[in-house]
């Protein structure tokens, strides 16, 4: 994502997209060695750093919803809009939680992906309608994202008539999940749904392959990652179904020029969330351009307002937001991990085979 964001702003600077101005990125990492993944405390520190820098007019990120929940109140108080290319927990933008996540009032958290209000349920629909799953066991990884998406999945699974055999929570720092997997095995489920990211997901995939190899396994975009491929490897991760909260973009002809430029510069292959990050950059460039063109003061409030009213042609199509900052498009895509030995193990675009758009609720 970082490379795609840098590419977009380099191009904008090169083209003088906003005459008289140059973009400069303040890149911060919310991951810590202690957490072993995203760290909400570090994310809050990063949000405070952005807010304290008066030259920062907007931001991109975070990747993870747990980080987003920590950042959103701080960004709100600082009047600083952000566009996340991948965090999907719906609470952050929901009016129900406005006092918590946007205490200053105006929506400041925008997304170039849809939310788990669609990602979780639509995967339940896929399992029910396409794979004809009748019973399922549900796990999450204790994180804000994992719990939320598993909750949403579970609710829709029940609504579709699936028997939810049970629900457990994994400690992402634990090494051994054999006890819960042995319990799940004794219930003989047709499917396992895991809401979470790869810190627990890699271990789960390895151990589930050993204990419940024939059970259908599915997860959200937290399991759509080179970290899973590299950490669990084949055959352990083979067959997993995963969703993303966006259209499948890298195979779209509209992405060809971007992919050519990206792969010409970087060694890794872009995935769909690389493109949603690039698209988030295009939206911010457009917003700043419109503020300057309208001869309005270049303030965070004016940039936020310009983002709110965006209708920007991007690789994924025209990006616009609803009144809460959520993406108007609600496409959820489904993939299955299928080994392609001709490509790199960690090439997400090669190892995750696109299946279809998940059925909408």
């Amino acid at each position: 994502m970082k490379n795609a964001i840098q590419m977009a702003f380099d191009a904008a600077n090169q083209a003088s997209a906003v005459p008289g101005y140059q973009f400069e990125l303040l890149v911060l990492d919310d991951g810590t060695a202690t957490a072993g993944q995203y760290d909400p405390a570090q994310a809050a520190t990063n949000a405070r750093k952005m807010v304290a820098d008066s030259a920062v007019m907007a931001s991109i990120g975070p990747q993870m919803s747990g980080a987003g929940k920590a950042m959103a109140p701080i960004l709100s108080q600082g009047g600083l809009a952000t566009i996340t290319p991948s965090s999907t927990n719906p609470d952050i933008t929901s009016p129900k939680f406005a006092a918590q996540y946007r205490p200053a009032g105006e929506p400041i958290y925008f997304r170039t992906v849809t939310t788990d209000a669609y990602q979780g349920p639509n995967m339940a629909n896929f399992l029910a309608e396409k794979l004809h799953v009748k019973n399922v066991y549900v796990l999450d990884d204790s994180g804000a994202f994992g719990v939320g998406v598993a909750d949403a999945f579970e609710k829709e699974a029940k609504a579709k008539g699936m028997n939810v055999l049970g629900r457990d929570r994994l400690d992402p720092k634990a090494a051994d999940y054999t006890a819960v997997l042995t319990k799940i095995k004794s219930m003989n489920p047709e499917a396992l749904y895991y809401g979470g990211v790869t810190q627990a997901g890699v271990k789960l995939a390895k151990q589930a392959y050993d204990i419940i190899p024939k059970v259908i396994k599915a997860g959200p975009d937290g399991m759509y990652s080179s970290d899973l491929l590299n950490g669990a490897g084949f055959p352990a991760c083979a067959g997993w179904y995963t969703s993303i909260a966006a259209p499948h973009l890298v195979a779209d002809t509209k992405a060809a020029e971007f992919i050519k430029a990206y792969t010409g510069k970087f060694s890794d292959a872009p995935d769909d969330y690389t493109i949603t990050a690039y698209d988030a950059s295009l939206v911010i460039i457009d917003a700043v351009k419109r503020v300057v063109a309208a001869k309005k003061p270049l303030t965070r409030a004016n940039v936020r307002e310009a983002i709110q009213t965006a209708k920007v042609p991007t690789i994924q199509g025209v990006v616009s937001f609803d009144a809460n900052g959520d993406l108007a498009d609600r496409t959820v895509s489904v993939f299955q991990i299928t080994e392609d030995k001709s490509k790199s193990l960690t090439d997400v675009s090669a190892q995750y085979k696109y299946l279809e758009v998940a059925p909408q609720s």
Binding site: K2, I5, M7, A8, F9, D10, A11, A12, N13, Q14, A15, S16, A17, V18, G20, Y21, Q22, F23, E24, L26, V27, D30, G31, A35, G36, Q37, Y38, N46, A47, K49, M50, A55, V56, M57, S59, I60, G61, P62, Q63, L80, T198, Q199, L228, N230, E257, F258, A261, G264, K265, L282, I284, D286, V288, K289, L298, A310, K311, V312, P313, T314
Partner: protein, 44 residues
């Protein structure tokens, strides 16, 4: 607003900027900072 044509131009310029190894800032330009928060520490 970025028009479709402008978006296409921006994409094309990405290739040029990539070929040139990045952007060239003009001394008189003002700087607009954009914060970026990502999760770069990974374990797996």
């Amino acid at each position: 607003m970025l028009t479709r044509r402008a978006t296409a131009q921006l994409l094309a310029t990405t290739a040029v900027a990539t070929a040139l190894g990045g952007a060239t800032a003009f001394a008189a330009d003002k700087v607009i900072k954009i914060g970026v928060d990502l999760s770069l520490v990974r374990t797996g």
